[in-house]
């Protein structure tokens, strides 16, 4: 199943599916429906779609329904004028947007904006599968920011695949700063550093 199919399957037989259908039938109210989704469906985790809440799922499917020619510009606009939940939904929906490589100059800046914020939920949402479009330097900085802000590294898509020697050096420097300050290094970051340098992690010693 593709990611949108998975979300649709998870919504099937819930009242949210009926609301989504109604919203899709009124394209003239698209922006208002997108804004209202949270209070229509609630914000509880969606059983059957791990990592997704009901409002995020219906918002993602609203975006996924857009005509390819408009999808990227619309996502950009919804993010620009969105509250934190709407922004998070846009970020999570980017991989399923009906848009090709020519949309990247419009969509990748949204990831960069989210990474600049100090909202842990936005930072985490920016490091999903769509972060494949971030250059390595920006991605490393974002991962380090997760460590700094206490965002679990399990939120980062393809972490081990992408982590490199430069990230290891940055983590080692961060660990040294933490040690000098007498503050602990988060366990998941220490473990990643251990995997990258071949050392055993503190937990294993």
């Amino acid at each position: 199943m593709t990611p949108p199919e998975r979300l649709r399957a998870a919504l099937r037989d819930t009242p949210h599916a009926a609301w989504l259908e109604q919203a899709l039938a009124e394209p003239g109210r698209f922006t208002r429906s997108f804004a209202a989704a949270g209070r229509r469906t609630g914000r509880a985790p969606l059983p059957g779609a791990p990592g997704w809440t009901a409002d995020e799922a219906v918002r993602a499917l609203l975006l996924e329904s857009l005509p390819p020619g408009r999808a990227a510009a619309e996502a950009h606009d919804l993010y620009r004028h969105g509250d934190a939940d709407e922004k998070r939904a846009v970020l999570k929906a980017l991989p399923m947007l009906p848009a090709g490589a020519d949309a990247l100059p419009v969509t990748v800046p949204l990831l960069r904006d989210a990474i600049r914020t100090n909202d842990a939920r936005l930072l985490a949402a920016a490091l999903g599968p769509y972060a494949a479009h971030l250059d390595q330097a920006a991605w490393r900085q974002a991962v380090l920011k997760c460590v700094f802000m206490g965002v679990p590294l399990s939120e980062v898509d393809r972490l081990d695949e992408r982590a490199d020697a430069e990230l290891a050096a940055m983590l080692a420097a961060f660990a040294a700063e933490r040690e000098a300050a007498g503050r602990p290094m988060p366990g998941d970051a220490a473990a990643l550093l251990g995997r990258l340098t071949g050392d055993r992690t503190p937990e294993e010693t």
Binding site: D83, A120, G150, P152
Partner: protein
């Protein structure tokens, strides 16, 4: 004791305030959009501010266990600046947001024709978006401004029970009491209203349709004057239930009319967050 501050400008306050408020029982706040002391010169500085009221500020509040909602409007003072007025066309988009529970602060500053127009248009937006309205009354010529406010509200078609008229005092409270609108009082260290005077008004007018707020902002103000007023009520013989009505159930009832008040974080249901944050630096 649980306290809901129905009018406080947290953007202007520090994390120390959030920590002290949470410790004092202030578990929920509504932040009305207002002017920032320094005049704005265009719509985009309003939208950045509105974005913050529905984005960063609720997130900041949540780090301290305080639930944050907002009201959105072009304030009366800046309604007079032609450079700012185009923001009126951008308001509908923000009035659709989940955490926006009223149109406000609207009302009068100097009672100019421009203020009349912005006030009227925004009352119409409240009707259209099915939201209550939070109305500021002027610092100067307050009684005349309050009368004119009530006339405009009446003409707007918005039910009086969906309108709060704020910053009242001994001179203006009677007008609003008779109108069916909610009566808002801002307890300030020196001006507007003090805890003992507030208690006297509660004795005279009762505890229904009353909203008590700190209206704390970037000026001389104190986010804990709601608590101080609650204590003064108890000392004057009001019971715990009266205090709970004024300090919690009344604001819940007023803003609850929006259908968007989400107090699940206070009442138990947890929203997804992460343990650490960059505000409580150090992850404590």
């Amino acid at each position: 004791m649980r306290i809901f501050d129905p009018h406080i400008h947290m953007t202007s306050r520090t994390t120390d305030d959030y920590a002290r408020m949470a410790a004092a029982g202030v578990a929920a706040v509504v932040e009305p959009s207002f002017w920032l002391g320094q005049p704005r010169t265009g719509p985009s500085s309003f939208t950045d501010y509105f974005d913050s009221l529905v984005g960063w500020e609720p997130y900041r509040a949540a780090q301290f266990g305080v639930v944050h909602h907002a009201t959105i409007a072009l304030n009366p003072k800046e309604a007079n600046d032609p450079r700012c007025r185009p923001v009126l066309d951008l308001l509908p988009r923000y009035l659709d947001k989940d955490r926006v529970v009223a149109v406000g602060e609207i009302g009068y500053d100097s009672m100019t024709p421009e203020e009349d127009d912005a006030f009227e248009r925004q009352l119409a937006l409240a009707v259209e978006h099915e939201l209550p309205a939070l109305v500021h009354t002027p610092h100067r010529d307050k009684a005349a401004g309050t009368r004119r406010t009530l006339d405009l509200v009446k003409a707007s078609g918005l039910e009086p029970g969906r309108v709060a008229v704020d910053h009242l005092n001994e001179v203006t409270v009677g007008l609003v009491h008779g109108s069916g609108c909610w009566m808002g009082f801002s307890i300030y260290p020196e001006t507007k209203m003090s805890p003992p005077r507030m208690v006297e008004l509660l004795r005279r007018y009762g505890t229904e349709r009353v909203l008590v707020n700190s209206a704390a902002d970037w000026g001389v103000s104190d986010p804990l004057l709601t608590l101080e007023t609650a204590r003064e009520m108890l000392a004057a013989g009001f019971d715990e239930d009266d205090v709970d009505q004024v300090m919690w159930r009344n604001p819940v009832e007023f803003y609850g009319q929006s259908g968007r008040l989400d107090l699940s974080a206070v009442t138990g249901a947890a929203e997804p967050t992460f343990a650490g944050s960059s505000i409580k630096r150090g992850g404590e």
